[in-house]
């Protein structure tokens, strides 16, 4: 044990108050009395009893006495021990070992650090609005043993005075042994969140590998973030297979937590599946293929509250023709989106989360777009967690009018939609209409799902497809075997695995 010299813990403080007229014993004073308070000396080992008894007549040594207190605690781990030396009128020292059972002290039983004296109380973060009364009350913790219940109450008062912010409390060692520092941390809970990184390494037994690495760079709790991303190869997201890079800068607080902005620049090289090329040859109304896609997308977001946000901006894309390079087409669209989410934490460990969003991308002549179209996408997701069980339901609806480029067309049949199907078997050119729903149940990390979906063009019929399967899902890792249920062809299950982070 390190020294407990500063601990007038447990019974120590009352005793010290009662004996306030008695000064601390000086180092080297001869000890003439040794007492033990709150504990029987005979409960200790003979060796320790002997060492304590042999203190009589020895010079007072704070370090040596603390070592004995430490030995008491090691022999009797259900107690805490401290030592007090009092100077007697004749210059000799009286030594008192103060011992108490942890379970007899509510504060100690709650947190063993309640034995220590609070050296400082600090607040980290933005806290200008805190009332003077609360500041004063926080400082009243200093110089006393840690009162965990009082600290808890003060934390709640901070939350009340700082709505919309999270308050955490931690304790660290003070500058002297036996002293502690209490720190209240104030976090801003952002109303506008950064776009999650899209890093992944995914394998699909029909489509092969996809690898994306997004590296977000920001200070902790920063309002701004820069992301550099490398797409080694992505065949999972869109109907096209692409690789390249992207750079993004986001700010989630511009003057106010209600307002944020994002700029993204990306350049991708495309390659196309044989199935897509074959389908395109016999199709009309689908814009031509491109070899490169260069996009600049500035957007701004306004948060009505912590749950509901609206965003708007433009997406400017230059598509370099595959067959007629270096000619290119522009796909410039207004972007408008609204999203909402809410988390409910109920009793019995029940957590429910609901998310919904709608996005419109409208490419019009006024933006200098060669391709004129409108793309509507609505999505909703609900998840409930209770104990080891998780149930998920999601729904997506998509609708395109006009001549949308291939990167805007909807596709189903990848590692997240219609699992068990291959998107190039369903719609190798993607589609202008889309419906998809998922119902999934997980117990521990093992889950089963049922996917339903259809993707089709305005002049063709919709065919509903089903798939089911099972697999292992953790926060980052997944391993899934999906079975198409109404496939007329002789196709087996599809295996998917990977990490997303």
């Amino acid at each position: 044990m390190r020294t407990l010299a500063l601990l007038f813990v447990i019974l120590g403080l009352p005793l010290a108050a009662a004996n306030a007229q008695e000064a601390d014993a000086p180092e080297g004073a001869i000890i003439d009395v040794v007492e033990m308070s709150g504990f029987s000396l005979y409960s200790l080992s003979p060796g320790l009893q002997k060492d304590i008894n042999s203190l009589v007549g020895a010079p007072f040594s704070r370090e040596g006495l603390n070592q004995l207190a430490s030995r008491i605690e090691q022999e009797q781990p259900d107690v805490v021990a401290a030592v007090r030396g009092v100077s007697r009128p004749d210059g000799k020292a009286r030594v008192i070992f103060l011992v108490a059972r942890i379970s007899d002290d509510t504060n100690l039983a709650e947190n063993i650090n309640a034995r220590y004296i609070v050296e400082t109380v600090d607040i980290e973060g933005s806290y200008n609005e805190i009332s003077q009364q609360l500041r004063d009350d926080l400082q009243k913790l200093v110089g006393r043993r840690l009162d965990t219940e009082e600290a808890e109450r003060l934390q709640e008062r901070l939350k009340t005075e700082l709505p919309g912010r999270a308050v955490a409390r931690r304790i660290s060692k003070g500058s002297q042994t036996g002293r502690i520092r209490v720190v209240f941390e104030i976090f801003e809970e952002p109303w506008i969140r950064f776009v999650p990184p899209k890093s992944k390494l995914v394998y699909h037994s029909q489509q092969g590998w996809s690898g994306v690495l997004d590296i977000p760079i920001t200070a902790s709790h920063s309002r701004h973030r820069f992301t550099a991303g490398v797409v080694f190869n992505d065949i999972d997201d869109l109907i096209e297979e692409y690789s390249g890079f992207r750079l993004a800068f986001e700010s989630r607080v511009i003057g106010t937590e209600r307002f944020g902005a994002r700029l993204e620049f990306s350049r991708y090289n495309e390659s196309w599946e044989d199935a897509t090329l074959t389908a395109l040859a016999s199709s009309s109304g689908v814009p031509e293929l491109y070899r490169n896609r260069l996009t600049f997308e500035p957007t701004a977001t306004f948060a009505f509250n912590s749950s509901v946000r609206i965003s708007g901006g433009v997406s400017l894309s230059e598509l370099e023709s595959l067959s007629n390079s270096p000619n290119s087409q522009m796909a410039n669209a207004w972007v408008l989106g609204i999203s909402g989410d809410h988390l409910w934490k109920g009793s019995n460990e029940v957590r429910q989360r609901a998310e919904a969003s709608y996005q419109l991308r409208a490419a019009i002549d006024g933006l200098g777009s060669d391709l004129v179209y409108k793309r509507h996408l609505g999505q909703a997701r609900y998840q409930i967690d209770q104990g080891r069980s998780t149930a998920i339901a999601s729904l997506s609806l998509g609708y395109i009018t006009g001549d949308a480029p291939l990167f805007e067309r909807f596709s189903l049949g990848n590692s997240t939609t219609l699992r068990g199907w291959d998107k190039y078997d369903i719609a190798p050119l993607g589609g202008e209409r889309m419906f998809h729903s998922t119902v999934e149940y997980r117990f521990y990390n093992v889950g089963m799902f049922f996917d339903t979906g259809s993707v089709w063009d305005r002049n063709s019929d919709s065919k509903l497809r089903y798939s089911t399967g099972f697999g292992v899902h953790t926060d980052n890792f997944f391993l899934t075997l999906g079975f198409p249920l109404n496939n007329n062809h002789d196709s087996g299950p599809i295996f998917m695995a990977g990490v997303r982070f």
Binding site: I102, S103, A166, S271, D385
Partner: protein, 196 residues
């Protein structure tokens, strides 16, 4: 053109099934043993650690953590419950001693300090008992045991601060650690056992 134009038509999916089995194996790999002391049935669990992840983070920040344990005796695997006991504990980490303290919630209260992490975990399990006489089993009656814990009230601030996951450090942390929720609840089943 794409090299993926010759996509594999491999239909051998026994390998994925094997991978599923391997991935789920850790869920059942923890070993339980039982012993009786007088009329008390004790359980010992190798690899059933709970001072880790967000619990450890919170403790190291000088805060206390409540952990609720549940021991259930079943007559069959996943079968009817014969008897169940629950016990809560409060853990804290002594910042100066750098040892753990545990208090048993309820009556009679019991506390202990100066423990290493594994010793603190063991102490909790030692204080989770069921009366053998209440089971009504003969010595040759097989039974199964489910041991579970969960951390009921750990705050969101204990796991990760807002924005932290987006730092490079946070990214690395997320890649290298298990799902946090998994650290806040765990359960293991084992059997059949017979009374010694």
């Amino acid at each position: 053109m794409s090299a993926a134009g010759s996509r594999s038509q491999n239909r051998h999916w026994l390998l994925p099934l094997a991978l599923v089995a391997v991935a789920t194996a850790p869920l059942v790999a923890q070993a339980l043993t039982i012993r009786t002391v007088a009329d008390a049935l004790h359980v010992q669990a190798r690899g059933f650690s709970f001072i880790e992840g967000p619990v450890l983070t919170r403790l190291r920040e000088g805060r206390s953590v409540r952990i609720d344990f549940e021991m259930t005796v079943l007559s069959k695997p996943e079968g009817p419950v014969v008897k169940q006991t629950m016990q809560g504990f409060t853990l804290s980490f002594d910042l100066w001693e750098e040892r753990y303290a545990v208090s048993r919630i309820g009556s009679p209260p019991r506390s202990i300090s100066h423990l290493r992490p594994r010793d603190a975990e063991t102490w909790c399990l030692e204080n989770l008992t069921l009366p053998v006489s209440s089971l009504g089993f003969s010595r040759d009656t097989p039974f199964w045991i489910r041991l579970a814990y969960h951390v009921p009230d750990i705050g969101p601030e204990a796991s990760e601060a807002p924005g932290e996951r987006y730092t490079l450090r946070g990214l690395i942390d997320r890649l290298s650690r298990r799902r946090e929720e998994a650290d806040l609840a765990k359960s293991v089943d084992a059997g059949p056992f017979r009374l010694p």
